[in-house]
């Protein structure tokens, strides 16, 4: 099993997690959303706006001057303030972003402020240039945290709204004391394997468990019995006796 330092380096290269330290000294992990989900979210929002504008146009068409005025103002409001309105709501996301599990936060993890939301949405014009969100796309592709120009100026971040992983470890394997003391990262790997066990095929589970067979004294062997004993060690590590 790899040393933690080694793991840390690889993780930094592969992951796009943006850490944000709170005054209490813990790191909150923000997961910036990439180009693809944000692009889809934009398309959804665009369709919603088109639908609203079309629906209102059919009604206001019968109302003469005031109707047209209302429609033009609505056009203007939807154009510039649709994202601001939804970003300042409790969900901090436009309907499109909500569908794809995204939300907008300040880059220190706090809820977005009104000024920041205005800034990032007014500067959308600059992201749009020279055509089809050219500069915004380039900025998102080149930056580690996937910010577009408006996000840079507003100090905001579009993140994946994480649902906490609530999978617990099932207690179906009898606990087994490990043959020798285990290092913390070895313990973590065993417990992670036990959490994932129900989602793996039995064959793959046996293969993975065989790698850790040394912990239950079955070094070099594999099979369902070995797997049960390895997962039993995981139970022991968790604290079941």
């Amino acid at each position: 099993m790899s040393k933690p330092e080694h793991g840390r380096v690889r993780r930094d290269i592969l992951d796009t997690v943006v850490p944000s330290e709170t005054p209490e000294g813990i790191l909150l992990e923000l997961r910036p959303a990439g180009l693809t989900p944000r692009y889809y979210a934009f398309i959804v929002d665009w369709i919603i706006r088109l639908a609203v504008i079309d629906a209102v146009a059919t009604v206001t068409g019968f109302m003469g001057g005031i109707g047209v005025a209302f429609w033009i103002v609505l056009l203007f409001v939807l154009e510039w303030f649709y994202p601001v309105f939804f970003e300042l709501s409790a969900r901090a996301a436009t309907p499109g972003k909500r569908i794809f599990g995204l939300k907008v936060v300040m880059d220190n993890g706090l809820p977005i402020t009104a000024a920041a939301s205005m800034t990032r949405n007014l500067l959308r014009v600059a992201d749009f240039l020279p055509f089809g969100f050219g500069f915004g796309t380039l900025s998102m592709l080149f930056r580690h945290d996937n910010k577009r120009l408006g996000d840079i100026a507003a100090a905001t971040l579009v993140v994946h709204h994480r649902r906490a992983d609530r999978r617990n470890v099932s207690a179906e394997w009898p606990p087994l004391m490990p043959l020798r003391p285990l290092a913390p990262e070895d313990q973590a790997a065993l417990v992670a394997l036990a959490v994932r066990a129900p989602t793996l095929t039995p064959e793959r589970l046996d293969e993975l468990a065989a790698l850790a067979a040394v912990t239950s004294g079955d070094e070099g062997q594999s099979g369902p019995e070995v797997t049960a004993r390895v997962l039993g060690v995981a139970q022991w590590v968790l604290g079941r006796r």
Partner: protein, 327 residues
């Protein structure tokens, strides 16, 4: 020995309590399940405990579900405890009475530069077109020129619009959308080292100047100037201020001083945003005036110039004097 399960058993009640409290505190108006009012102090204490637990759980590599649960609890607590609120009537009142005029004064040099970038081409191109009316074709398309001539002819029903443009209300909507969008573009153009702002200011200046020069040369000056005099007090100043905000952002990028370029940009946008709020309000006033007052052909030029003078003086008075005590 402390095992993950023992740890969970010990602190589970605290986490559940924090969970309920955070839910109750984030939706204060909705009926919550607690019998008494949710306590902020208790939530704060439990939040700090949860932070400790998260740090311990991470350091000891406890199972993912436990770390994730604590991560979720602490980030919700963090959001609730450290959030900033900046809405409300009080904030708006402060913006109008102090923040906006004071921000215009503190951005004085940028606003002055924007005014120069707008007025200089306006005057130069205006004079050229006045001497040689044909020159307008190098700035404005021929169709538009004939439209403009019709719009400001003294026989027009409503001044400043083509015959088929629709009612006052329609034009009100149109002016809002058009003018505020121009102002927002002037601001956003600052992100390209100020060059976008520069372009929008010079282009709009040249366009307005050539129009004024041409209409004056055609002898339509009486209707044209009476038309623009009033609302331009709000509209032109607002566009120039939006340009000033854009130049501020551009300058922050080109010359960040002791900050990093990014910090400098974030700071400049936060401060310039106040200008954009104010500009939006001014353009709403301008759109109302332009649609309902300036275009009315039954109001004589004398009355329009009188009101225009009052508007210009109050706008300048507002920027020079309002909110000075707070500077």
């Amino acid at each position: 020995m402390m095992t993950p399960l023992r740890f969970e058993q010990l602190y589970q009640p605290e986490w559940t309590e924090l969970d309920t409290l955070l839910d109750a505190l984030s939706q204060p108006r909705k009926a919550n399940t607690l019998t008494e009012a949710p306590s902020g102090a208790r939530a704060g204490a439990l939040y700090r405990r949860a932070c400790e637990h998260l740090a311990l759980a991470r350091a000891r590599s406890y199972p993912t579900y436990m770390i994730d649960r604590l991560d979720d609890l602490t980030s919700r607590g963090h959001q609730l405890i450290y959030q900033q609120r900046e809405f409300g009537v009080e904030r708006l009142r402060r913006l109008v009475s102090i923040d906006f005029p004071s921000a215009v004064r503190s951005h004085g040099s940028y606003v002055a530069a924007a005014a120069g970038l707008f007025l200089l081409p306006a005057i130069v191109i205006g004079l050229i077109v006045f001497r040689q009316p044909d020159m307008i074709l190098s700035v404005v398309a021929p169709d538009n020129v004939s439209d403009f001539e019709a719009m400001y002819s003294p026989s027009a029903e409503s001044i400043g619009r083509t015959r088929d443009a629709g009612t006052d209300w329609t034009m009100f909507g149109y002016y809002i959308r058009n003018n505020v969008s121009v102002a927002f573009q002037c601001f956003a153009g600052g992100l390209f080292a100020g060059l976008g702002t520069l372009f929008f200011l010079v282009y709009n200046g040249a366009f307005s100047g050539s129009l004024a020069g041409y209409l004056t040369a055609q002898g339509l000056s009486s209707t044209f100037y009476a038309f623009i005099a009033t609302h331009s007090a709000f509209e032109l100043t607002a566009i120039v201020i939006a340009g000033g905000a854009g130049l501020r952002i551009g300058h922050a990028l080109v010359s960040p001083g002791r900050l990093t370029r990014r910090q400098s940009l974030v700071k400049a946008s936060r401060e310039a945003m106040v200008l954009v709020y104010g500009v939006t309000c001014m353009l709403l006033i301008a759109a109302a005036l332009e649609a309902f007052w300036s275009s009315a052909s039954w109001i004589g030029p004398g009355a329009k110039y009188g009101v225009a003078a009052v508007c210009w003086i109050s706008v300048f008075g507002y920027f020079v004097l309002q909110g000075r005590h707070a500077d």
